[in-house]
Subunit: 364 residues, 2 copies
Amino acid sequence: MPANNTRSYPNSQPTPRSQNLEDIAAKAGVSRSTVSRVINNEPHVSEKTRHKVLAVIQAEGFTPNPAARALVTQRTQVIGVVIPQVPLILFEDAYYFPTLLQGISRVTNARDYSMLLWLGQADGDEERFYNRIISNRLMDGVIIASAGENYPLIDHFLRVQTPFVLVERPARRHDQNRISYVTIDNIAAAREAVTHLIRLGHTRIGTITGNLAIADGIDRLEGYKQALYAAHLPVDNRLIAVGNFTYHSGYEGAQKLLAQVGDHQSGKALDAIFVASDIMARGVVEALQEAGLNVPDDIALVSFDDLPTAQQVRPPLTSVHHPVEEKGAHAADILIDLIEADDPVPQQIMLPTELIIRQSCGEY
Amino acid sequence: MPANNTRSYPNSQPTPRSQNLEDIAAKAGVSRSTVSRVINNEPHVSEKTRHKVLAVIQAEGFTPNPAARALVTQRTQVIGVVIPQVPLILFEDAYYFPTLLQGISRVTNARDYSMLLWLGQADGDEERFYNRIISNRLMDGVIIASAGENYPLIDHFLRVQTPFVLVERPARRHDQNRISYVTIDNIAAAREAVTHLIRLGHTRIGTITGNLAIADGIDRLEGYKQALYAAHLPVDNRLIAVGNFTYHSGYEGAQKLLAQVGDHQSGKALDAIFVASDIMARGVVEALQEAGLNVPDDIALVSFDDLPTAQQVRPPLTSVHHPVEEKGAHAADILIDLIEADDPVPQQIMLPTELIIRQSCGEY
DNA sequence: AGACCTTCTGAGAGCGCTCCCGCCTAATTC
DNA sequence: GAATTAGGCGGGAGCGCTCTCAGAAGGTCT
């Protein structure tokens, strides 16, 4: 750290010290306290002095020093956003995390917060990543996106009572009610998607699941089963291929289903597939076409996420739409509510989804 | 703002005040100053006391209060990242901004900074957006991505001598040498791409330009022209369609070229197109196929950016690869250098590109 | 007229850190 | 052995703000 704080620039006078409350007070002919009151919109300031002070603030372009303010209030008006799995997410679904950030940003802008972004690195030095976040005490609260179940940060923030919100359901934690999160109703959405296939007359419906270590994967499979139960159709394990949300796992999953249920050209061993993500569905389409099968005539497809890619695939995919931007916005809103509450109560929100009908399910 | 700073949680004792230097000093049996010296890795501390203090810090999990530190040092170890055109960028090229952020994040992590993210909103209240950024004094410096030429923030940061780096070349500013930026050599890259088409025997080469209000658009067109000059081919204005980097403008641009140079089924009025972005190229492919033309047999295509989509389009696109992640990393590195320099000197960096050969140019 | 509010304002303390200054001790020099 | 020097350490000031407290000014009531 350099010895002199006032950095020197070539051919220019040294940067002038920026103004403080005292300077503004002197120019307005009042005290520091009064200026502070005006800035913080407190009562008990006469209209006359308020205007006088505001005029000076405006003229001087004064903004109070956030560090000094934070030092005394113990508040920074900054929230953190932690996205651990960036390389993975980015590779599979580039829209997700910018869209989420966009939603968060909309709310932080509106509620006068700013966001500190923490992206996990490809090098995978998670220990260091966590430590940097934990030791950064500049944040009033944190949004954690797609972290998985036992993410160490969760326990840390619970322990030190830092408000935080997860963007996902922490499926296997016993303390779900102590944790705030926003998610979608994966079960209901998957049930609706599969029910739609059933309504179209399909009876041999397979599924390619997402990663069954996280709630999105678990719940979409559960919804698939519930739809079959409700229609009194059997749940056949040979019709369930476990994937992990990647293109490749979709491709392989489709091949596995085809292999497991025998000859599809003739017998109607499999007539539709519910795929737990659009990215996987792209792989499924590829595999089916390679096998000489037509979508949707031979096998109908419904998938999940409704990414832009769903419209670009041939045939366009019927898919469950996901309000990602809204997830971000709600997460930020809940978090700021927690931060500002005298007596914070964890909140859990499930956002509605919508089944978008396109050609892959054969109804179009 | 609540009257009491120590927030109360239900069924728990009030949050204990977090420790400070004085507490650590007491536990280690030294003074506040010595602890500060240890934390800041200053000399003139005996190895013995240094170890003793470090042990206590470790045991207590102590981290110094960043607000207090910032208050006296005038440094926050925070850089800002401003991305004004998010909705536009996101719609056209979802990979760009997460990848850029990823690059920035890699460097900030390594150099012990954190990043404050500012995303432009769809509502387009730019005035308010700028003001929020300007009045946030929590940042030691700023990276501004894809802002366009006369972005008000540029002038502001120049005026108040806040270090900043642009991710793009500020094409039409006369004060380019006062401004730090990182970009690619668009002219050379475009020249190489077009020269490649010429080498493959094409002589009637059209182009669909990007947005000619920004450097990327201007320079890629310039590179196209330079390649023609060098090969002694005429620059025919009827072969130049002005686009703006969007899918739609690519689609329309292709139709315009076809219309302007007459009958393409028979006469060889147009045999190749250099498209200034992959996104536009997707539109071009669509338009050409609708016109019954085969890519690359009837019309060869070379485009720019090498997004993942370039591999997914049929035929896969020959395209100029763009080191977006590296752009972010370099921008962050330059910025932090500027921040930490006693005597900052603006830097301009041009990163190398690479022409990736795929099927759309007909060579494969 | 005095007592009592009520509204407005200013002074002082203190948040937790860094940095300057000066003291103490031990090592080095003549 | 006295004088000097250097390393190691502690105390004080102050960064710019908020918040409490007390005082000044003005109005209302007995």
